[in-house]
C-alpha cells in the first residue's frame, strides 16, 4: 500500500510547524558509554568531541559501572538474551523473583512487580486498582506517564495545585463520598527538582482515609539517608501504599520499572495491569544488572553521599557566580533564565565550551519559566564541576545574566 502524497504532506507540514516553533527534538549521537564525560557527535557527522555531561539521569554513576556491566554479561550467559514471552505464560525466571524480593526489601514495602518500564507501571497501575466509584487526586505537575495512566482509568479524576496541602485537603474533604481516594504525586518533580511534601500528604491521607501513590523515579537510590527514596527522606517509610520507580535512572539506567507497595495492591496489579499482562518480561541481563546495582547501593552509601556533596557544591558554585538557581535538595538543579531564546542560546554556547546541557522552555515548562536544567551525578569529579562552572560563568558573562533577577533577565532580552 502506498503512502499517499496527501498524508505525507500532512506530516511534513506538522514537522515543519514544530521546527518553526522551535519544538523539534534533535538527537545528539553519543559515541561512548554513559558517564560524567561523554563523546558526542553533534551535528551528526561532525567529529565527536568530549564534553562534560550535566543532563543525564545517571545519578549514581552506575550506568557503565564495571561490576554492573559484568553482572549483565553473567545474566546474559546464564539466562539468555530474551524470554520471548510475557511473565505469566513462560517468561518468569528465578532472577525476576529475586529482583522483586530485593526491591521490596530496599524500598521497605510488602511486595513488588516488575514492568518493562516505569512508564508502563504508571500506565497500568491506576486502571488495575481503581474503578468508577473511586477518585484519583493528582498533583498538577505529575509526570506525563501518570497522566496517561490516569486517563486509562475509569475512576473520577481530580487535581490539586502543585504541593499545595490546603488544596489537597479541600479535595479530600470533597471526595469523602467516593469508595476510595488515591493521592498521586511524584517524589521528586523532574523539572524543578523539588520534593513532594510526603509527610504532610501521608498525614492527610490517613486523616481522610485515602491511599498514597508516589512515582519515585527521580529519587530511588539516592534520596533519603540510605537512598530508599522520598518516603525515607520524609520519614514515612512503610506508610506509602504504592511506589512506582524505574531501573532506568539511578539504578543502572537501562530500562525497566516496578510497582511496589501493599501486598494486595501489587498482587492485583499482577492479575490485572495490562502493560504487565501484555508485554514481554524484562530481559535477564537487565534484571541481573539491577540485582548488582542494589547490592552496590546497599553495601555502602558512598555514592549517594558523593552525589549529595556534588549537588551542594554545584548549587553553591552557581549561586556564588550569580546565577538564579531554583532552591532545593535534589540533584536536579535548574538554572533559571526565563526566556526561551536565552536558554537555547546559552545551552548552545555551553556545548561549544564542552558542557552538555539542555535548555527547557514552553511548552515543556510554563511560559516565562525557561531554564537550563543541570543534573548531577556521583561520578562527577570536582575538576569537572569546576570546569563546568568556568564555562557557565564565561557564557553567563557573554549574555550578561550574572547577578540578574527575573525582571532584569526578562528586560535584558526584551519582548
Amino acid at each position: 500500500m502506498t503512502f499517499r502524497d496527501a498524508a505525507r504532506q500532512r506530516y511534513r507540514d506538522e514537522l515543519q510547524a514544530l521546527g518553526r516553533d522551535g519544538l523539534l527534538k534533535q538527537e545528539r549521537v553519543i559515541r561512548s558509554p554513559q558517564g560524567a564525560e561523554i563523546e558526542v557527535e553533534f551535528p551528526e557527522g561532525a567529529p565527536a568531541r568530549r564534553v562534560i555531561n550535566l543532563c543525564s539521569n545517571n545519578y549514581l554513576g552506575l550506568s557503565s559501572h564495571p561490576d554492573v556491566v559484568a553482572a549483565a554479561a553473567r545474566a546474559l550467559e546464564s539466562r539468555g538474551y530474551g524470554l520471548s514471552s510475557v511473565r505469566f505464560i513462560c517468561g518468569t525466571q528465578d532472577l525476576h523473583h529475586a529482583l522483586e524480593r530485593q526491591l521490596t526489601r530496599f524500598l521497605g514495602t510488602e511486595d513488588t512487580l516488575l514492568f518493562p518500564s516505569c512508564m508502563d507501571a504508571n500506565a497500568g497501575v491506576f486502571e488495575a486498582l481503581m474503578g468508577e466509584a473511586d477518585v484519583l487526586v493528582a498533583d498538577r505537575l505529575v509526570h506525563a506517564s501518570i497522566v496517561d495512566g490516569m486517563r486509562l482509568c475509569k475512576a473520577q479524576q481530580d487535581t490539586y495545585k502543585h504541593s499545595d496541602m490546603a488544596h489537597l485537603e479541600e479535595k479530600l474533604q470533597l471526595h469523602q463520598d467516593k469508595r476510595a481516594r488515591l493521592v498521586i504525586t511524584d517524589g521528586v518533580f523532574s523539572m524543578d527538582g523539588d520534593l513532594a511534601r510526603l509527610d504532610r500528604i501521608v498525614e492527610l491521607a490517613e486523616r481522610y482515609d485515602a491511599l498514597v501513590f508516589v512515582d519515585d523515579s527521580h529519587a530511588t537510590g539516592f534520596i533519603g539517608r540510605t537512598g530508599r527514596g522520598t518516603h525515607e527522606h520524609c520519614g514515612v517509610l512503610g506508610r506509602v501504599d504504592l511506589i512506582t520507580t524505574t531501573l532506568g535512572k539511578a539504578l543502572g539506567g537501562a530500562s525497566g520499572g516496578c510497582v511496589s507497595g501493599r501486598r494486595e495492591l501489587v498482587e492485583t496489579c499482577r492479575q490485572r495491569a495490562r502493560p504487565y499482562l501484555f508485554s514481554n518480561s524484562v530481559p535477564p541481563m537487565i534484571v541481573g544488572a539491577a540485582l548488582e546495582v542494589l547490592r552496590l547501593i546497599e553495601s555502602t552509601t558512598a555514592r549517594r553521599d558523593r552525589l549529595e556533596e556534588n549537588t551542594r557544591y554545584w548549587r553553591r558554585l552557581l549561586a556564588e557566580a550569580g546565577f538564579d538557581v531554583k532552591p532545593g535538595e535534589s540533584p536536579i538543579v535548574p538554572v533559571m533564565l526565563y526566556d526561551a531564546r536565552l536558554a537555547q542560546q546559552m545551552a548552545r554556547d555551553l556545548y561549544d565550551e564542552g558542557i552538555y546541557v539542555v535548555g527547557f522552555f514552553f511548552p515543556v515548562v510554563p511560559k516565562g519559566q525557561a531554564r537550563i536544567r543541570t543534573q548531577l551525578s556521583a561520578s562527577h569529579e570536582r575538576r569537572q564541576l569546576d570546569a563546568a562552572i568556568e564555562a557557565f560563568v564565561k557564557v553567563g558573562r557573554k549574555h550578561g545574566v550574572l547577578g540578574k533577577s527575573r525582571q532584569e533577565l526578562l528586560a535584558l532580552v526584551g519582548p
Partner: protein, 102 residues
Amino acid sequence: MRQALSIEVPLPEGAEPSPSEREALEALLRAMVDLSHPDAGAWRETARRLSADGWQLRCRLGWIAEARRGRESEQAVGRSRDEAFEELLTLTELDQPAGHSA
C-alpha cells in the same frame, strides 16, 4: 427506503436565539423524538447484543463540554453543564506537552 420525515417550525419573527438557546432547542427536540419513537433507529439491536454479552445498560441525557487548542483537544461528559465543565477543567489541568518531566 423511505426518506425520513422532518418538521420545520418557524421561530417567531424577530427571534434571535443565542448559540446556547439553539443548542438547547435542538437537544430538546432530538430527545423528544427519541423518546416518542423508541423503536426508531438501530439502538435496540445494539442494546440487545450488548446485553447478551453481559453488559448492564443505561442511557442518560447529559452535557458534552469540549476544549480545543491547536491539535490538543479534551472532551468531558456531565449530567449538568457545571459537571461537564468541572471534568473538562481537570482534563486540561492534567494536559502535558510531549517532553515534560523527562
